[in-house]
Symmetry: D2
Subunit: 337 residues, 4 copies
Amino acid sequence: MIIIMKPSSGEAQISSVTSYIRQHGLEVHLSTGKEVTIIGVVGNKNLINPEHLESMKDVERIVPVTESYKLANKKFHPEPSTVKVGNTFIGPGTMTIMAGPCAVENEEQMMLIAREVKKAGATFLRGGAYKPRTSPYSFQGLEEEGLKYMQNAQKETGLATICEVVSNEAIEAAAKYVDMIQIGARNMQNFILLKEAGRSGMPVLLKRGLSATIEEWLNAAEYIIAEGNPNVVLCERGIRTFETATRNTLDISCVPVLKEKTHLPVIVDPSHSTGSYKYVPSMAKAGVAAGADGLMIEVHNDPACALSDGPQSLTFKNFALLMDELTPFCQLVGRTL
Amino acid sequence: MIIIMKPSSGEAQISSVTSYIRQHGLEVHLSTGKEVTIIGVVGNKNLINPEHLESMKDVERIVPVTESYKLANKKFHPEPSTVKVGNTFIGPGTMTIMAGPCAVENEEQMMLIAREVKKAGATFLRGGAYKPRTSPYSFQGLEEEGLKYMQNAQKETGLATICEVVSNEAIEAAAKYVDMIQIGARNMQNFILLKEAGRSGMPVLLKRGLSATIEEWLNAAEYIIAEGNPNVVLCERGIRTFETATRNTLDISCVPVLKEKTHLPVIVDPSHSTGSYKYVPSMAKAGVAAGADGLMIEVHNDPACALSDGPQSLTFKNFALLMDELTPFCQLVGRTL
Amino acid sequence: MIIIMKPSSGEAQISSVTSYIRQHGLEVHLSTGKEVTIIGVVGNKNLINPEHLESMKDVERIVPVTESYKLANKKFHPEPSTVKVGNTFIGPGTMTIMAGPCAVENEEQMMLIAREVKKAGATFLRGGAYKPRTSPYSFQGLEEEGLKYMQNAQKETGLATICEVVSNEAIEAAAKYVDMIQIGARNMQNFILLKEAGRSGMPVLLKRGLSATIEEWLNAAEYIIAEGNPNVVLCERGIRTFETATRNTLDISCVPVLKEKTHLPVIVDPSHSTGSYKYVPSMAKAGVAAGADGLMIEVHNDPACALSDGPQSLTFKNFALLMDELTPFCQLVGRTL
Amino acid sequence: MIIIMKPSSGEAQISSVTSYIRQHGLEVHLSTGKEVTIIGVVGNKNLINPEHLESMKDVERIVPVTESYKLANKKFHPEPSTVKVGNTFIGPGTMTIMAGPCAVENEEQMMLIAREVKKAGATFLRGGAYKPRTSPYSFQGLEEEGLKYMQNAQKETGLATICEVVSNEAIEAAAKYVDMIQIGARNMQNFILLKEAGRSGMPVLLKRGLSATIEEWLNAAEYIIAEGNPNVVLCERGIRTFETATRNTLDISCVPVLKEKTHLPVIVDPSHSTGSYKYVPSMAKAGVAAGADGLMIEVHNDPACALSDGPQSLTFKNFALLMDELTPFCQLVGRTL
């Protein structure tokens, strides 16, 4: 941590800051320039509250030097992690394809979609049984009933299954029926839910919040891992910007940034980020080229009649076509589909 | 709802859209121009899923005409609402001042702060007992113990009390000790929590999410009201933008926008939005001038030693000074402090 | 300037950075911690290129300590500036009201509006003769002809006049007819224009770019002042965010931030920022309460027939009403209208 | 254009709107629902000012149906355009690689870089002779001298050359020495410059403004084409968002959106968007995979000593490596390097 003092600060102020630091068992490195004085803090930063320092007289600002997340940090875990889900693995050498409808609608539909995405090459079946919807009057999901349909689809096809959870109860139910849970963008800083996901021990797909910085996202992952659960996978699904031509803005450059900062696998979601099936194929390829460990793609038997997010869903035909197109891209980046 | 067809759309496509609408019991108004065809949908929009329409062939886009929130909508409730909390009222004619520390730290502190903010003219004591923090290693709050301190402060001073809740358990605990619950920015779209807050029947202060549009915010309020709890107050606390000179950007123009769209009272938080005590007085005055029904201001006995958010807290002296300065502004806008 | 080295950096890398700094005649303060090494640079920063340092091996990042703008900086000019325009002054103690149409349309209109805004209490007449419009097919302004109408209005009413300029030719023309020139948001980083505005010696109103940080804005002001022209006034007119309920988001908290960082006067524009006449009165009051030195307000004789930006213009009646309402707010903040 | 009336609007208001439309020679389609009345306008929209309508009594809002740009619009020019520059072509079937330093520094450097990027496979040499810099105290470019160095490099290597222009004078000078001009992000809505670029007849690379929507960007292109110059190429170089881990956020999904809306070629700039050489290779590949017609990449002989933007420049070695890696990606998307 570095403390930048105001140009006007006198010896008394500087000394009160350095005393405070030393009292907390940390060392001080003082750098006195013509215009400003800078105080470096050396030692275990958890012994001190940066906000105390920030509100001391004549402190201009505090510059953190080390990240607050540790367990998710590549510095302390240089090798990329692989997360095992059911019989599949997410991580280096593999391109994980999670496919399925936004919402689970009925049993026949889930079975049908599961068979088709399996046939086209997906390894995960996704489907929402608990839907966080902007309006209370929109369809909110089939809940436990929907999870059972997913389990049946898993049994028949062998696909790993993933479902979003929105409450501790949903985590408990999901643990009984599916292989991996998803924390959605709106709950990325629902810390109660993150802790419970951590305690569940289940593999967790953590979607990025609509306006979450990469640092906040990694701190959210830290909440899960700190509960003893290292099985966390990150999912970029678009951030909120001023541009309205796409539903959100896919922050594709987060992929190499994450690969530098964390060992956790990274999935790209071209469906929710763009909001339109027309843009999904090019963004899926871009995700693979950028270095992602997998893709999450919405597929529906009848997009025009989907209960949720129809416009961004691919038909079976378009999904199969995309999988064919993706194959050589995956080979190029050294990953097997 | 209006459907704009692509220029290329033929009669078959237009007819398949209009048939779909009529099958769902709604009427169609067709407007055929040289370049585009526009289809107006007349009737109860809940009978139809706009996303189905959006994914039909040759549909360019759907333009919603009416808002999805009803109970929070001024169109159906033209008079501004007043929310009763303890013995105080939030709404027209009153300027509600909620003051106190970001986090409840200990009993003496709460009592001391309660007395001082009461003396200076506040009517609410705020304090966080459940703290949603970006990092799992930051102070997370005293929980139920903290609520008890608030209750004691309430008993002695008569101030109404408000505390953030982050889980159903916290709502239950809060119901025993404080007068009003707060849903924080990070939980604005935690719909499970919104519903539970609705079922609790307690007055709810709903903070705006960091990147929530006004429409999403009012839909979040609708979740609470739809459970039978009309006691909702909105709180603008800054949105996330590219500017980093302030912690967030106080969206002051949301005040007149909300006054046009909803009957719910609106509170402005100059502390969290700016992140610096230096900017609080001018933003507090701006909030009053803009038409807000109240202010939420952080006050601490020793900002340099606050366990959370010290830099944005006012000292007792500065808070008392600000209250003096605010008085004539409140008179000008016809509100009593 | 502070240089934070990567945890992995060895002595060789650190030494190559410190040698580089010393070779450029600057001093080094080395701070070696357990996890990271920090290098403070002491001396005249203009002797060194931070980008060189940033691309040296094992440099994690560079933290600037001092602002790059000097002439606009309050640190070197602690007293607030007053800018003289015609016979009026913009600065402490005064509330400057600039009023008029978005675009100059014809001579009668300008004369009519000038008389009416003068009567209501404005001291400046604004009007656009050179209009930067998003589409090439929109009305682009009357150019020099429009400036003449403004001059006539100035002669009759005594109001100071201000007009946006978009090119060096427009600056030359404006110098002949009006009292102050305006650099619009889209040209805030048109550095050629800034320099020319500086060389013109005319008072300049510098609007903030749609996505300009406060620091970039002050650097743009620095371009003008560095040409020997200290007569710069800043104008906040809303920034671009994700919110679409208003045209832009009025960043009201920039007012106290600017008052801390610069000595230049600050004007708030509630018309362009909100995009709707309905929100102008409350935002005008908020601007005054926040500490602005003035307001820029669009007024039109017939908003429904304005050639540009009608929806945000006030009628004469509404403008006069607003001026009446503003008077006590100005008194409260110690400024005369 | 569609006009949505307020629920409260009576017959008089509706009739005054429809009269206004008919008086301007346009037809009206009236759609009267239970809650709202919608008025469709049919005919040549240029005969009417939407802003007039928007400020009429009881008009809730106006929904545009057709885009304001025509010449850049794919609807009226369905085939993708190819832009000829020197002896090279930008468009379908080709992957254009523009490489070179941010700023032209001296003659030897330009010659050296030209030879190296040519050897690695680039077809364009880029280099800035007129640098728009945030601070007036930063290096501003060699101007005409720099252009001469580029011309010499062009003569020796045969590479096409491109240079940013910031004024009419710079366009004139560039016309003498280089093959293509670039309008930078900060000047994207400098309409004077756009028109002059149009009149010059030179091929123009139009970079996207930091906070420009895709629609505004295409309107800026329209300014150039409307002057009779169809040789416009678009360049995505990152937009400004809240995320600070990268300098800007590369809006990769603008590529498929642009491919749907316009016939103009699209270039992706992974250097300026990310601000770090480490992220350039993955973003270059993502750009190719997303469907871009080319890439603009910063290359420098000695990034640590570059006068501008060193941290984002590739060394010769890294550039050659990247070109090797890009080759199979280009083959996959059917483009020759």
